[in-house]
């Protein structure tokens, strides 16, 4: 009855023969597409791509049809089409990343990150002026957005997960509705409500308010998911000890979900860090430092990019790419942080 000599097998897995056949058909298809492109007026990446797909399908079907017939051919086609869909989507992402990094790096230097544009114009060659003022402005916006949206978002999430009152369905619906508000509408609203009705004018503060509208739904939704993950027995333990609900929530539930709530905040910030449209209505544009968050236009990274793009000259466009690279790095860092915090499970 010794089982130590029994060999585990996986007869259904791809055998070396299967793998060799696949490699062969891929190589043949590449060859075919190259040959056809050389022999006909077709040209360009599109031609190679399409021909490769077609010839791979034909060649692979020849191998499959003997074994499995028409339904095997259909199965193979489906597998290839889904693969190609995923490949096209990946290519888009890589293209964006590659373009940003390769085009943006050229303009990054110490001056770019340490100076403002007070003495330089967008059209000056790179090396003159920088975006430090814009980085400052964006940081101010983010700070305001966090101050307003995190309490609102978390408290709303608490209502939905802890209190679960009669209005919960309505509130849920409203949060979802709010997540669909276009960014330009948020900017218009702040302009209409505040700039046209009060003495307040463009400032980082107003920009922060506009961004809050966009950030609250993200924070609420993520916080809700995270709070729902906190095991019910934790809450019951707190209540069973005689604690009031608010004490249970404040001292037991929220700390347990702490890392998830940080994730919610980070995701919210990533959502709004790059928003441009609302800023055009509420923050304006500015070329040097403005240390007053409540008064006066601010430079912000998205508006630097925007003006660089609209400027049209190689220098202004270069600044745009470099600025967006800075922004992308910030978003990527937040992304990684969000994952790091998100993977910490609620404390038992």
């Amino acid at each position: 009855m010794s089982t130590s000599t029994v060999q585990k097998m996986r007869p259904w897995a791809a055998s070396p023969k299967d793998r060799a056949l696949t490699t062969l058909s891929v190589l043949l298809s590449v060859l075919t597409s190259v040959v056809i492109v050389a022999a006909t007026p077709m040209k360009g990446k599109l031609a190679y791509f399409a021909l490769f797909f077609l010839s791979w399908f034909v060649i692979d079907s020849l191998f499959v049809v003997r074994k499995q017939g028409a339904k095997g051919v259909r199965d193979g086609l489906a597998a290839k089409i889904t693969l190609f869909g995923a490949v096209i989507v990946s290519m888009a992402v890589f293209s964006i990343l590659f373009a940003t990094i390769s085009k943006g790096l050229k303009g990054i230097n110490f001056a770019f990150l340490s100076q403002n544009m007070h003495n330089a114009s967008l059209f000056d060659p790179i090396g003159k002026g920088g975006i430090l003022h814009a980085i400052l402005g964006t940081l101010m916006l983010i700070a305001f957005a966090i101050i307003f949206s995190v309490p609102m978002g978390i408290l709303t999430a608490l209502y939905l997960t802890e209190i679960k009152g009669k209005a919960a369905g309505l509130i849920q619906f409203l949060v979802q509705a709010m997540s669909g508000v276009p960014s330009v509408v948020a900017g218009l609203f702040i302009y209409a409500a505040i700039i046209l009705n009060t003495p307040l004018r463009s400032s980082a503060f107003l920009g922060g308010l506009a961004l809050t509208i966009l950030m609250v739904p993200t924070v609420t939704r993520t916080a809700q998911e995270v709070l729902n993950l906190v095991p019910q027995d934790l809450r019951e333990a707190g209540l069973a000890m005689g604690a009031t609900q608010w004490k249970t929530v404040a001292l037991v539930v929220v700390p347990a979900a702490r890392s998830g709530l940080i994730t919610a905040t980070i995701l919210g910030v990533a959502r709004i860090a790059g928003e441009t449209a609302p800023l055009l209505f509420t923050v304006g544009v500015f070329d040097s430092y403005n240390f007053n968050p409540f008064k006066g236009d601010q430079g912000t990274i998205p508006t630097v990019v925007w003006r660089g793009l609209l400027g049209g000259t190689p220098e202004s466009v270069q600044r745009a790419w470099s600025a967006i690279l800075v922004l992308l790095v910030v978003v990527l860092v937040m992304f990684v942080l969000a994952r790091a915090f998100g993977s910490k499970s609620p404390k038992k």
């Binding site: 009855m1 029994v6 585990k8 097998m9 996986r10 259904w12 499995q68 339904k71």
Partner: protein, 298 residues
């Protein structure tokens, strides 16, 4: 006076002194079944045979060295306590075991003498010849009753001249025709549990399998539906080989010709004993089998 195979009314062989510790009811039932079974009419092929089958879930050795020969035209019941590998085993018979990630197996399963695990074989064709009915009825909710029965044909791209005749034949064999013949266009979700299970049986029959595997097909159903399905199994066994996993020993005694007893002692599941059903229930050879069928555990 009595022939060798003739059984007296107590269901025990006249010859031996039976160490008959089984409650007479189980062996009675098994004996009645053996009596009433008509000598097989059209066994198809040479049946199904498992040789030295092992199964692993990742590193966990779940099934050890199971060899069973399912003769054509017979019904074999697999019994044993939960978790001893019966369901795993039955899924190696139609190559469903491999859908679970990180599984592996060893051994052979021969259908009409050919190993179904041979490389290069079209596994979808194997599953057409070895059909399966599951514990929980699972008709396709997006299809009508008629479409459900014929779905196997559509999936396999099989051409059939007359759909209506096939529909009637399969539903009749499954014991469902009279109840649904006027509403073949209705959605399958409106049927009761027992009816849905019979629909699944009809669906499995439509592709004309040689073997039908049934994994606890009645455990989610009421006794009335259970009896109807058992009748169906008896009828079907005249033209195909049936393997049925069951927790219900009375059911095994009622429907099967042969019974195999599985057990796991904490390690991999093993097949302890196999034999004609009435023998397993009246005079099992292994003590563990006896303990199980007399209800001392499980």
């Amino acid at each position: 006076m009595s022939q060798i195979n003739h059984l007296d009314q107590n269901g025990t062989h006249m010859s031996d002194q039976p160490k008959d510790t089984t409650p007479s009811s189980l062996s009675d039932v098994a004996a009645k079944r053996a009596e009433s079974k008509i000598a097989g009419t059209q066994p198809l092929g040479t049946g199904l045979e498992a040789r030295g089958v092992h199964a692993w879930f990742d590193k966990h050795h779940a099934l050890e060295d199971v060899s069973l020969d399912f003769s054509a035209g017979t019904v074999t019941a697999l019994i044993g306590p939960s978790g001893c590998g019966k369901s795993t085993f039955i899924r190696t018979l139609n190559r469903m075991h491999e859908f679970i990630p990180h599984t592996s197996m060893a051994g052979q399963v021969l259908l009409d003498g050919k190993d179904i695990y041979e490389p290069g074989i079209d596994v979808t064709k194997i599953r057409l010849q070895i059909g399966m009915v599951f514990q929980k009825p699972n008709p396709f909710p997006s299809m009508t009753i008629g479409e459900n029965v014929l779905s196997g044909l559509k999936l396999a791209q099989l051409k059939v001249d007359n759909h209506e005749d096939l529909l009637e034949e399969c539903l009749t064999r499954a014991g469902l025709w009279t109840e649904v013949k006027d509403r073949l266009g209705a959605h399958a979700g409106g049927l009761s549990g027992g009816q849905q299970q019979r629909l699944c049986i009809a669906r499995a029959l439509a592709v004309k399998p040689k073997v039908l595997l049934m994994d606890e097909p009645c455990s989610a159903l009421d006794p009335g539906s259970t009896l109807r399905i058992e009748e169906t199994i008896s009828q079907l066994s005249k033209s195909m080989t049936i393997v049925i996993v069951t927790h219900n020993m009375q059911q095994a005694a009622r429907v099967s010709d042969y019974t195999a007893f599985f057990l796991s002692d904490g390690g991999p599941g093993q097949m302890i004993e196999v034999g004609p059903t009435n023998e397993i229930f009246s005079r099992p050879r292994d003590e563990r089998t006896e303990n199980y069928v007399t209800g001392r555990f499980g």
